[in-house]
Symmetry: C2
Subunit: 115 residues, 2 copies
């Protein structure tokens, strides 16, 4: 899986990225505006959200639509490819949510062993 | 999902990390030694593999066993928690493998639009 590994790892670097995962989960509910996404994904900076959305757009996972209203309205939406990513991403998010506490206990035990 | 979002995003930062995903996929086949993992996961540096394995161990996903042979033999293995992560991680890895080419086409189209 060597050659594949490098190819997969480049894609995983995007889709496995924590902010990408959270944004794909949020957009699963339908198109959203920048500030809506920022409110829903707690803790992400304006710059990181801009970069992550741009990366998702570049990878063909998200579309960016500008409506000619005054002021112009910008909406982000999942593409078909983006929607196909929802299932594995949701599974990873659900796993994370279900095991957060178990992991925090493991971390405290590990850290205590280091002292 | 605000509060949960921060908790989930900390865990996702680990489990969604591309190296962690690849290592969990590799260890799914059974215990491995450091250099075996390094050969199987193309492109990872010694330092990054050490840090990622330590992070996975700290999160309770991987065990590190030292056998008192001469020289000592060190093996890494998935814990029960680690094995429970395999399904979502494998699904993400499979998705990445299946869509790598589609994403590369989208990237070239996006980049051409920027020129």
């Amino acid at each position: 899986m060597g050659g594949d590994c490098r190819k997969v790892s480049r894609v995983l670097a995007r889709v496995g990225d924590k902010w990408s995962v959270l944004i794909v989960m949020m957009l699963g509910g339908g198109p959203r505006r920048f500030n809506e996404i920022r409110r829903m994904v707690g803790g992400i900076s304006q710059r990181m959200l801009t970069l992550t959305l741009r990366g998702l757009e570049r990878d063909g996972l998200v579309t960016r639509t500008i409506y000619p209203t005054i002021p112009p309205r910008v909406e982000y939406n999942l593409t078909e490819l983006g929607h196909s990513l929802r299932a594995p991403v949701q599974a990873l998010g659900d796993w994370a949510l279900a095991h957060t506490d178990t992991i925090e206990v493991a971390q405290r035990t590990f850290d205590a062993r280091q002292d």
